[in-house]
Symmetry: C2
Subunit: 460 residues, 2 copies
């Protein structure tokens, strides 16, 4: 049965009466979706779709592995998903994007003084290589940019080790992003940056870094929390630390890739869109199951659930699986540039990119009037106990739309361990849980369907 033969408007009953105020009308209208919300939730959590998004994620990440920007694996991943979405009966198309292509290559680091010790590292994306024989230099350990500034005269010719404490990802990631250029300005020959995580089993974490224009590009990698602390203690004792760093990383010309798009077309306003999303690329470590295979899969699953129930909303539900998010939202930026001409038709943009653990709340950014509507929508999630609407829907990939005034929503999950695994070899299926993914999928599907089916778009 093709979805597009169905033309079933099941809630004529939700048309507001004239005497209701606008607010009362919307309360009544949304409340009318209680049954359909229950059906979606039942299907996802206890029904035939139980464990499906987890199973899909497992099949996908076990088959493909990780999928870094520019890699053959990412190409394979897009093909895999294109076929899977087609087979699932959805309307699927690809939108070409040019994406960065950086290759890690071989890399290693070892402490030479005060004693020999191998350091676990992960080079940072876009880092230049060392000379083939490596860089062997004395280490300067600092705990902050402020300390580096104070000790500017000591940095010349050194490998600067940043041992910044983890405060929050948003705050602490500045060291990974800017550490190399800040140290290079002072004559440093390389930087080793404590991984951006509150917890470690000697686990290095990779990620993006940005060279500043006009500043010498020096090799840069993340080390473990443990090794950063070790070198800090050695420096405090006045011990001379020497490290040899070898990286043959290289940047190649931009590669061809795609944003992967799947839709259920709206029956009344097909040009109007509720966008659900996650990114398909990952880092070149682990399986990219948590970041962001899970987000991609629940954004697919939401459409499957709606399709399985024979539902079709007024507006188009569009799932976009971004490419090259990890390189700075490259696919998403291009998508925005291409489609912003239709910005008035974008009703709500949704992104899941902080894990698909047990859902806690929906995060939402929009006008006060839109928030009023969304507060009613999340009440429909009572059967899975996630009726909280929080401030600050956000996400790298939906931010261009949100900055331009489109309402945005993201998933708040119980993610206390998210950064333990993030961008590390520990980002695997082992951290995922089928029931949590069912709950995320149900939430995602209910929100997308109801917003996409209301008589009016969310007020800006």
């Amino acid at each position: 049965m093709s979805l597009y033969q169905i033309n079933y408007n099941f809630h004529g009953y939700s048309t507001p009466t004239k005497k209701h105020s606008k607010v009362k009308a919307i309360i009544t209208e949304v409340a009318g979706y209680a049954d359909v919300a229950k059906q979606i939730i039942e299907l996802a959590v206890n029904g035939a779709a139980q464990n499906r998004s987890y199973r899909r994620l497992t099949d996908f990440t076990d088959t493909i592995g990780n999928r870094v920007s520019g890699s053959h694996n990412l190409e394979m991943a897009i093909k895999y998903m294109y076929n899977a979405l087609k087979q699932d009966g959805l309307d699927v198309y690809l939108e070409p994007v040019k994406i960065p292509h950086w290759i890690r290559g071989n890399e290693s680091a070892e402490m030479v003084l005060p004693r020999a010790k191998r350091l676990a590292i992960l080079g940072l994306s876009s880092s230049v290589a060392t000379p083939p024989e490596g860089i062997e230099a004395e280490v300067l350990v600092v705990q902050s940019f402020e300390e580096l500034k104070k000790r500017a005269s000591e940095a010349q010719g050194k490998i600067v080790v940043f041992n910044q404490p983890f405060v929050s990802y948003g705050e602490t990631v500045a060291y990974r992003l800017n550490g190399a250029s800040e140290a290079a300005k002072l004559g440093a020959v390389a930087t080793l940056i404590r991984s951006i995580t509150p917890f470690s089993i000697n686990s290095p974490h990779t990620g993006m870094q940005s060279y500043q224009n006009g500043v010498k590009q020096i090799p840069t990698a993340c080390i473990t929390l443990e090794d950063a602390e070790l070198m800090q203690r050695m420096a405090q004792r006045g011990q001379k630390i020497v490290v040899r760093l070898t990286m043959d990383a290289k940047s190649l010309p931009a590669a061809d890739s795609f944003n992967t798009v799947a839709e259920i077309k709206g029956w009344q306003h097909p040009e109007q869109v509720v966008l659900l999303s996650g990114h398909l690329d990952s880092w070149d470590v682990g399986q990219g199951a948590m970041d962001d295979g899970g987000g991609a899969m629940i954004s697919w699953e939401a459409l499957s659930l709606i399709r399985d129930l024979g539902l079709r909303p007024r507006r188009t539900l569009r799932t976009v699986l971004w490419t090259a998010e990890e390189q700075g939202g490259v696919g998403a930026q291009q998508y925005y540039d291409l489609h912003k001409v239709n910005i008035s038709n974008f009703d709500l943009v949704m992104e899941s990119d902080t894990g698909t653990f047990a859902p806690v709340a929906l995060q939402f950014t929009g006008s006060g009037a839109a928030r009023k509507v969304m507060e009613e929508v999340v009440k429909l999630l009572a059967p899975i106990n996630t009726t909280k609407l929080e401030k600050h829907g956000e996400g790298t990939d939906i931010s261009p739309w949100m900055q331009a005034g489109v309402p945005g929503a993201s998933l708040h999950v119980a993610d206390s361990r998210y950064f333990w695994f993030h961008h590390s070899e520990g980002d695997t299926m082992t951290v995922q849980n089928p029931r949590d993914m069912d709950l995320c999928s149900a939430l995602w599907a209910v929100v997308a369907f109801v917003v996409g089916d209301l008589q009016d778009m969310l007020p800006r």
Copy 2:
């Protein structure tokens, strides 16, 4: 000031009166140590010795690194500790022990089918090498010895992957210890065993394994929880898995080593001994800070605290830092064989080898009468809120004494994450905490001093 010029019996007042029952007498006698217990605790936790055992552990493990049986590092560690204990004014001597000498060498494993993937491994101590070109073979995944038995006919020529769930260390470690021989009996060419841990960031854990007599010796290593689960899922899908394993491990002739012994001699019964202990060796990963640098350091710190306060007990307090515990209590077994002739003089044997996190209780094994005494002793620990006496004092290194009837005590600490780091690169100073070590040291010192100073030895 030398300790041995002090002859200060500060608690003549604790002599029991004739009219007291034996039990009442001991209650009164032990209660008489309340002030000295407070002094020890105050010195350790808030006084001049605050953070000292942590600092000692940091200096030691940062300087030496890990210390596997037979290594140059272990030799250096013993020299380091010999000098440090001497400098601390203790009576120090070394007792020679022959210990196993196994070298890991280079090792690697990669999945070849169904897709290429590097597997993080740690070879197991005493494993034989693969041929230089490695072993490439199809994988048989099993979740238990029972499943292996049922599928015996499938094992021939395969690499057997054990993906046993973690139940408890004591139970699950059987797979690491016996996996290779059990699989070899069925014609397997190598074994890869899921690391013995409840949690992982793709972290492999090493440890001992034992070849059974008369069974072909095949190479054996631990893989990560994540990779074991991955291969399980692939096998469940019916996918053919092929892995290439390369290990150039080798066993060398037994090496010379030492148990390191430091004492405060008893003023009244110097031949009677309360023994405190931890092991100085570790695995060849991480820093061996938790396993068992911490246990060694609090066993030293206990003597330092007692010495600092100018105390000298009736009996000898003897700290033994075992060698080659990880190879099966080799140093401890030799110590027992050498000293068992004096077993009647061993009052209490104590071991700390499950971490020096926040202390929860003292664990004790001994007669009912001895337990009555110990129940009074732990009451002295009220200032640090660790007055619980639990059953089952235990430890690899004190077990020969305990099996022969000597009362034994061990430290129960808040160790919920102990096995996350155990035998892995994550066993570093980062998991240690100075205050927790102060508390452990205080507990250790109070128990050792009071038991060593009571008029009578603990009843057997």
